[in-house]
């Protein structure tokens, strides 16, 4: 009993899948490189911890007084890794440095003018830089608030070294600390007491939706890289079609009972098998290795990625049909993958780009996929929330597939 068309499609797909999995380089690119990228970018953006990445702040403390020491400890409380500039090895290039001027403590106590400078290296992380700036501001605010409270307390206690007469303040904490033996320690101690008090007004942060509670660097790194690598795997697979054409294999398959439709379907199905293997592997690695959340509807996530694989697999067939040299497909694949990944939101969050570019993102399959992933993982929504995304991706796939099938040539 001879089998029908479905069998032929299956044979072509299975053969393509098998051929790809035999290639060491393909296996490296499909499975290991994404892991390397996820690890690298995940670590770069905070790793597995759910906290904001612990950025480094170098402090050049030219002061030596207790106020500057208090400032440093306040900054440490702001979730910064504080590195003192005098402990840096030779040649080290600090990314952002807070310069505490000489006489900061005396200036602060004596109500003299002091200026702190936060130097940020060009090209340093913009987000971390802004956050550092805000953190320094908050620490200074707490320090100033403490100073004012000590001054107010001393005034109320009737200190002669700091008084308010009329609308004018006379004296200062500097004078108080020089009043007699031990007074400097009293001021310092009072300041320490102020700073260790818990804040009365606090902010409790949480995330919307029913998705992940504690996002980490890997949480943002896995989806972006998953989409980018599935895209790359699919696009590069177009090279196999051109290579088969060059080797006469495509022509031979075309001479078999398999029709053009069967061949295109088989080639696409083979690519989808590879994409599915990659998706399952990377999602499993994300869950088990990087401990990320996959949302509340894994089925929806799989369907969304399947639709994306279909769209990109179809695009690879179009590439394979249009180009004649495998090297050209690979190079064009790299450029297309980069452009679609970057503009679609795999490289950086789309909220950071201008409104027109956000529109561009929705003209690309990557933009729809990333948005769908956010709905499923970040917001914890269900499949229904990504049905429009799946429909759009399927439409992309149909258009690419129709064009690819139309242009498919048997001969070079």
């Amino acid at each position: 009993m001879r089998r029908g068309r479905a069998w032929t499609v299956w044979k072509i797909a299975a053969c393509d899948f098998r051929l790809t999995m035999r290639e060491k380089s393909a296996v490296l690119w499909i499975f290991l490189m994404p892991l390397a990228f996820i690890t690298f970018f995940g670590l770069s953006f905070g790793g597995g911890s759910g906290r904001t990445p612990l950025a480094t702040l170098t402090v050049e403390n030219n002061d030596g007084g207790f106020l500057s020491a208090d400032l440093v400890s306040l900054l440490e409380g702001e979730n910064y890794f504080i590195q003192m500039s005098d402990t840096l090895p030779d040649g080290a290039d600090p990314v952002r440095t807070l310069v505490i001027p000489e006489g900061f403590t005396d200036g602060g106590l004596g109500r003299g003018k002091v200026e702190l400078v936060l130097l940020r290296e060009r090209g340093s992380n913009e987000n971390a830089g802004r956050a550092a700036s805000a953190a320094v501001f908050r620490s200074l605010a707490r320090l100033v608030s403490g100073l004012v409270e000590i001054e107010d307390g001393l005034i109320r206690e009737g200190s002669e070294s700091i008084v308010i007469r009329g609308d004018t303040l006379y004296g200062s904490l500097l004078i108080v600390s020089k009043d007699g033996p031990g007074m400097a320690a009293v001021v310092e101690q009072r300041m320490d007491t102020m700073l260790v008090r818990p804040s009365n007004v606090t902010v409790r942060s949480e995330r919307a939706g029913r998705g992940i509670e504690i996002p980490g660097g890997f949480q943002s790194s896995v989806p972006g890289n998953l989409v980018m690598f599935v895209l790359m795997t699919m696009l590069f697979s177009g090279a196999a079609i051109t290579a088969e054409r060059q080797g006469g294999l495509l022509k031979r398959i075309g001479m078999s009972p398999a029709g053009k439709g069967d061949i295109v379907a088989g080639k696409l199905l083979g690519r989808i098998f590879i994409g599915v293997a990659q998706i399952i592997f990377l999602l499993a690695a994300g869950k088990l290795l990087f401990r990320i959340s996959l949302g509340n509807d894994i089925g929806g996530l799989f369907l969304l990625m399947l639709a994306f694989t279909f769209a990109m697999g179809s695009l690879s067939i179009l590439f394979g049909s249009l180009l004649s040299d495998p090297d050209q497909v690979t190079s064009l694949g790299v450029i297309t993958a980069m452009a679609m990944s970057a503009l679609g939101g795999c490289w950086w969050p789309l909220e950071m780009v201008s409104a027109p570019l956000r529109v561009v993102a929705y003209c690309l399959p990557t933009g729809w996929t990333i948005n769908g992933i956010h709905r499923l993982i970040s917001f914890g929504m269900g499949t229904a929330a990504v049905l429009p995304h799946i429909a759009v991706l399927t439409l992309f796939g149909i258009v690419f597939l129709a064009a690819g099938a139309k242009r498919l040539k048997w001969d070079v």
Partner: protein
């Protein structure tokens, strides 16, 4: 004998290039039909149209009673095609390749496995069947290439230059396989540009050049076309006009100062012609005699020699 393949007024152009120009031929069941012609003659284009890969611009192809235009898939099921290129997955073993190609023809399970085993035995590659094709020699690759077209036991086999670029020993083995297939009643179309191959295995031969079939028939019929005459070439120090009279009624194929090519009935006529040369005091430097053959037929019908 029933005609398994009937081709009528078949034409195909690629842009300005007219690759096949209204050819007609028919192949009987169990026959080896040779397509003899140089590279670019239109052989592969014809094979591509016979296999349904290319759609003809005009004309019709009927295979086993089915019009290829309307029954392409059914026709392809009974065709076994052996392309010119080693169109195989070099990374896969010979057996894996055969399992794939057999699968494309709808074979599965035990039937597929048995067919692969039979095909491997046929080309004597059972021992190396598990090795990747890339490790095979040129001749072995040709044999497994042939095998891939036979695994589904096709009724009709189209072989497109199956012995291209291999050593004589490997060629003999392939030709033996083809003869064996014909012995089993397969209808075969065999394209080649090797005259001796066509002479050796084909029941009938079509001489094709520049997209046109110039002559077709059995070897004897083709030789008859050139009158069964021998071709004699005489070279020496004589003028064209000096020898014209000596030739008499014999058919001159070519004449110029210093060279005469003439068709003669037999070797005795050659002796008479040379006698005339000597009597006239004409200088003869060399004499070449070519017996009637496919080569002379080719030369006769196409006006040029088949060099490659």
């Amino acid at each position: 004998m029933t005609e398994t393949i009937v081709v009528k007024e078949l034409s195909k152009s690629f842009g300005e290039v007219r690759a096949v120009r209204g050819i007609d031929f028919a192949v009987a069941s169990g026959e080896i039909f040779g397509f003899l012609g140089p590279n670019g003659a239109g052989k592969t284009t014809t094979i591509s149209m016979l296999s349904g890969l290319l759609r003809p611009d005009s004309g019709s192809i009927t295979i086993d009673g089915m019009d290829i235009a309307s029954h392409g898939r059914d026709v392809r099921r009974i065709l076994g095609i052996i392309p010119q290129e080693i169109a195989l997955y070099e990374e896969l073993s010979g057996r894996d390749n055969l399992l794939f190609w057999g699968g494309l023809y709808g074979l599965a399970g035990g039937e597929l496995k048995d067919s692969v085993d039979r095909a491997l035995e046929l080309v004597e590659l059972t021992d190396r069947s598990k090795d990747p094709v890339r490790t095979y020699s040129g001749g072995m690759k040709r044999r497994i290439n042939l095998c891939a077209g036979l695994v589904h036991d096709p009724k009709i086999i189209l072989l497109d230059e199956p012995t291209l670029g291999i050593d004589p020993q490997a060629r003999i083995r392939i030709l033996d396989v083809v003869k064996g297939l014909a012995g089993r009643g397969k209808t075969i179309i065999y394209t080649t540009h090797y005259l001796e191959e066509a002479e050796q295995i084909c029941d009938r031969i079509a001489i094709i050049d520049e997209g046109t079939i110039h002559a077709s028939g059995t070897l004897a019929e083709l030789v008859e076309l050139v009158g069964g005459k021998i071709m004699v070439t005489v070279s020496g120090g004589f003028g064209a006009e000096d020898v014209r009279e000596l030739v008499g009624d014999a058919e001159i194929d070519h004449i110029e100062d210093g060279e005469l090519r003439v068709k003669l009935l037999d070797r005795d006529s050659t002796g008479m012609l040379l006698g005339g040369f000597f009597s006239a005091g004409l200088q003869v430097d060399g004499v070449a005699i070519k017996e009637p053959s496919l080569e002379s037929v080719f030369l006769q019908v196409t006006g040029r020699e088949l060099r490659d």
